[in-house]
């Protein structure tokens, strides 16, 4: 197990390295000159030249790339071209907002998705199943940012129950939860529809297995058959889907943060794209890639908890 974890962590390094390389070269074919972006169109040629030198942009691309890699290994993601603050500081100052938002959304999706999926499977072709399936299809087809807009219209603009913008203060739990509720619900409800669909189909598959039929035929209570035999085995594909959707959730967090004007790594990334602030774009994407690789590892490890037969080699 320990060996497996170490090997997986080591395998994360080449993945992140390739991702960083792709991002670096993508940023450097950007149309436009970052020096002009910072100093404006009317800056003198001398000022532009000095700034290019200061930023290392006068160096050959390969030297810039090696410098960038070396800085990154030391944890230095460079300085923002917009405000000259260290990119790592900018990321760290907003990362907690994104992490809290994503994990709350995942929690909501599990709390709603798994019980509804189980109920839908156990009541197959009953009206409860039809309602659950239609709701899941609607949720699955609704872009998160659109659901966010609808929640904003209803609960903020019409009923004035939740704030329209901001992320609240992290040190104040009440304020934080007040600002978190709508964005987390928007993301959580959409993800819940995916978890519901997956859980329903996994439970239906397992309920037809021989060992479940055997458990029934030896007179075990239906509740025990479901909880002790069916659910535990149905959980594996559900965990896999939840794991995969953590990455997707982080992606949709970008849009949710824009809709709710909430601080976060997604909002930082989009702001950097608008300003052609490529050190910040690179830095945020590297953090995204590392975070998703880490979640994938956690997902693989959680299989073992759901199913003791899973062995890590």
């Amino acid at each position: 197990m320990v060996k497996y974890v170490i090997r997986r962590i080591l395998l994360m390094i080449p993945t992140i390295w390739v991702m960083v390389t792709v991002v670096f070269f993508a940023m450097h074919v950007l149309p436009g000159d970052p020096a002009i972006s910072i100093l404006g169109e009317y800056a003198s040629a001398e000022a532009l030249e000095n700034l290019r030198k200061e930023l290392g942009l006068d160096q050959p691309l390969i030297i810039q790339y090696l410098d960038f890699l070396w800085d990154m290994v030391r944890g230095d993601l460079g300085n923002s071209l917009s405000n000259n603050k260290p990119v790592s500081w900018l990321i760290l100052s907003v990362l907690p907002y994104s992490v809290i938002l994503s994990f709350s959304a995942i929690l909501i999706s599990i709390i709603i998705g798994i019980p509804v999926g189980i109920l839908s499977a156990l009541k197959r072709n009953h009206w409860i199943d039809y309602i659950a399936r239609i709701a899941a299809l609607l949720g699955f087809s609704t872009p998160t940012f659109y659901l966010g807009i609808l929640l904003l219209l209803l609960f903020s603009l019409k009923l004035d129950l939740f704030p329209m913008i901001g992320g609240g203060e992290l040190s104040n739990l009440g304020s934080m939860l007040h600002h978190l509720t709508l964005p987390a619900l928007a993301m959580g409800l959409v993800n819940a529809s995916i978890v519901t669909r997956m859980t329903r189909s996994a439970v239906l598959d397992v309920m037809n297995e021989d060992y479940v039929q055997t458990a029934r035929s030896k007179g075990l209570q239906e509740r025990k058959v479901i909880y002790k035999h069916a659910l535990r085995n149905a959980l594996i594909p559900v965990i896999a889907v939840i794991g995969v959707y953590v990455g997707v959730t982080l992606g949709t967090a970008v849009l949710t943060e824009i809709v709710f004007n909430r601080p976060g790594i997604g909002k930082l990334l989009v702001g950097a794209v608008y300003n052609r602030d490529y050190p910040t774009i690179q830095g945020t994407l590297v953090v995204f890639a590392a975070f998703i690789a880490f979640i994938n590892l956690l997902t693989d490890l959680s299989y073992g908890i759901a199913d003791p037969r899973v062995r890590y080699e």
Binding site: T15, A26, V254, V259, I281, A289
Partner: protein, 280 residues
Amino acid sequence: MTRKKRSALAVFRESKIAIAGSILIVVVVSIAILAPWVSPYDPREQKVVKRLQGPQADYLLGTDHYGRDILTRIIWGSRTSLTVGLLAVTFAGLLGTCLGIIAGYKGGWIENFIMRAADVFLSLPSLLTGLIVIVALGSGISNVVIAISVALTPRFIRLAHGPTLSLKEIGYVEATRASGGQEIRIMLRHILPNIIGPIAVMATLWVATAIRIEASLSFLGLGTQPPNSSWGLMLKSGVDNIMISPYLAVFPGLAIMFAVMAFNMVGDGLRDALDPKLQG
């Protein structure tokens, strides 16, 4: 027609959801094709005195901040969504399937290279992969198609790679290879027809994903650019004017939802139809 094909078609026909989805797709495609004839106004016609009007007899869904008819722009927006969605999935499907088959069939360093590259791109959400490409190429409809194609190609590679691995070991493929059959012919004549079914199913579902990514990129101001019509772009202007005119954000979102739902419904139906457990 073989018995298996007939029964797959029967499973599809029996699915009310799949039939409803097919009807919805026909409606959306017809609206997109007939846009110049069915839309009540010119999508770029601005009437500043009529700006931000609510739904009324002249403007069934109201007007936007330039006084343009929202219904008209939703109708024209369907062209953007469908064009981007279908083109991106077609490009990604062709490229990804070819690469997946080559990786699975050839093995060795070619397989390693293609599959590791796919893994790297799969490690980021599709929206972010699309965003990186847009940052590099700039915004605009053709770049959005490229961005979404790049984001979806690794999914097709993965989908084509697995079955190719097992198909190349099957007797008749080995026999063709042993009798000196050309590799390209084996891949096209013997492997591709056997994996095209599941790929077509996922392609249908990923048209929905592509429509959603286009709307997301346009919503961020990085996709389709004004004055072209795009549902995501309309949602963005809806959010910008949310305090003055809340309905502006509601209708374009509904259009995205219905289009995405239509492809999801058909994709689900096709998946059930090809599932041997559900066939008679």
